[in-house]
């Protein structure tokens, strides 16, 4: 098969490694990290545009290197080619190998912040247009200096506290080690970040099987949703995460 993979760049290393071992020809388009910050409908528009650009005469399916991602894939329509999406809430669940492991970890570890190679090395890598919109809309990503320059000393400090105060609720940083890392430097960076923030640190072993199965065409219904042309993605907010529904 010839498959087109549209993926968040936060999964760059994992997707490249999986594609290298796929029995199929998989062409990848990476989109900027952090689209979920734009909100569900804006993110969906970006993904829809990318999916609709794929030439149906050249490919047999469009694979999405995304999860539900704050409803960023909700409403995504299959027009000419089937869309294949892993059933997961977010990229952390993908990196952990599935939604069940993520769910149980999440429930037993309140206040965990996650890191992976992509989250570490692609930290500020949003394209400028996207970054500008996200910053202006949410205030996230501004430094204290930025905020003071824009809103004055007092209001700038207040906003910085408002945007970053939630971090007080976190207690732990978990680094997801996939085994693809060239050395221990990523884990070390994550460990240093945990120390800097005063959080506990843990390394969790990642699991790349969802990535491998996605690009291998092993789309078992329990772990993947295949959306045929004329159907779209609907979030279910239950254990299945997403389902397909016919476009009216």
């Amino acid at each position: 098969m010839r498959l087109k993979l549209i993926s968040c760049e936060v999964l760059y290393r994992e997707m490249c490694a999986a594609v290298a071992r796929s029995p199929h020809q998989v062409d990848i388009e990476f989109l900027p990290k952090g689209l979920h910050d734009l909100g569900g409908s804006s993110m969906r528009a970006r993904l829809q545009e990318a999916a609709d650009r794929v030439d149906p005469t050249q490919y047999e399916a469009v694979l999405l290197g995304y999860a539900l991602c704050g409803n960023g894939v909700a409403g995504l329509v299959s027009h000419a080619l089937p869309l294949v999406i892993p059933r997961a809430h977010d990229c952390i669940a993908l990196l952990m190998g599935g939604r069940n492991r993520y769910q149980s970890y999440f429930e037993n570890h309140p206040g965990v912040y996650f890191r992976s190679t992509g989250w570490l090395e692609r930290g500020e890598n949003l394209d400028q247009a996207t970054l500008g919109v996200v910053r202006d809309k949410t205030g996230a990503g501004y430094t204290l200096e930025d905020l003071i320059a824009r809103y004055g000393e007092d209001n700038g400090r207040y906003l910085f506290e408002q945007f970053n105060g939630y971090q007080r609720n976190y207690r732990q940083l978990a680094y997801i080690a996939t085994g693809l890392e060239p050395d221990g430097s990523f884990e070390q960076r994550a460990r240093e970040e945990a120390t800097r923030r005063g959080w506990q640190f843990e390394t969790i072993r990642g699991d790349l099987r969802l990535f491998e199965r996605l690009v291998a065409g092993d789309w078992d219904e329990s772990d993947f949703l295949v959306v045929p042309p004329g159907w779209r993605v609907k979030p279910t907010y239950d254990a299945g995460i997403i389902e397909k529904e016919q476009v009216p």
Partner: protein, 212 residues
């Protein structure tokens, strides 16, 4: 419009407090300051947010200015016997630690004349139940920022229903991944797409609901 209105719109907390102080000293009734100046100011802030003239930082600063004024006005409101627009219990649902959106909504509702009990983030369903009882709340606001915690909204609503509190309190839900469709599915009474619409929605729900 008035200095108070302008100060809130500009997110200028010291100016808002000063304007409120002067108005109170000049004999303006506390309720008139809220209804005639602060509520219209927050409505205008909401309008500007809707048309993307204002963004989250402006919303936060307007709410901050409003709270600065409200700190001076509130004692006068209480002594005049004015009733709050409603009694609200608000929190981010269990498992979810995000609180910026919830804080903005709480501030806007406070400025809109509501009495707020803010339970914070990662709030268990039974805590909502207890707080609604203890504060005789007639409105519950639930926030979630993660699709993985949206199911906690459902369990919270189920807990409020099981506790027999649905006749007493309306429930509104919001947060980035939350949709009207989801709100309908879990049986919420209202859904606010953003903080700007929260006050109008809250007023509507409280008016439609049982008397406080």
């Amino acid at each position: 419009m008035s200095d108070l209105y302008e100060a809130i719109l500009n997110g200028n907390a010291p100016a808002a407090a000063e304007a409120a102080r002067k108005a109170l000293e000049g004999g303006t009734a506390a309720l008139e300051l809220v209804q005639g100046h602060m509520v219209p100011a927050m409505d205008e802030v909401g309008r500007r947010f809707e048309c993307e003239d204002y963004f989250v930082p402006e919303l936060l600063l307007a709410a901050r200015a409003m709270k600065a004024a409200l700190a001076l006005i509130r004692p006068h409101l209480a002594s005049s016997g004015a009733q709050p627009a409603g009694r609200v219990v608000i929190g981010t649902v269990k498992g979810d630690l995000h609180d910026i959106g919830k804080n903005i909504v709480a501030s806007m509702l406070e400025g809109g004349g509501f009495e707020i009990t803010d339970l914070g983030a990662d709030v268990a369903p039974e805590k909502f139940v207890d707080a609604v009882r203890a504060h005789r709340a007639n409105l519950v606001c639930l926030s979630a920022l993660l699709t993985v915690t949206m199911s906690s909204m459902k369990t919270t609503i189920e807990a409020l229903t099981a506790a027999g509190l649905r006749g007493q309190a309306k429930i509104m839900v919001g947060g980035a991944p939350v949709t009207q469709r989801f709100a309908d599915e879990i049986g919420a009474d209202g859904y606010g797409e953003n903080a700007a619409v929260a006050v109008a929605l809250a007023r509507k729900l409280v008016t439609a609901g049982a008397p406080a």
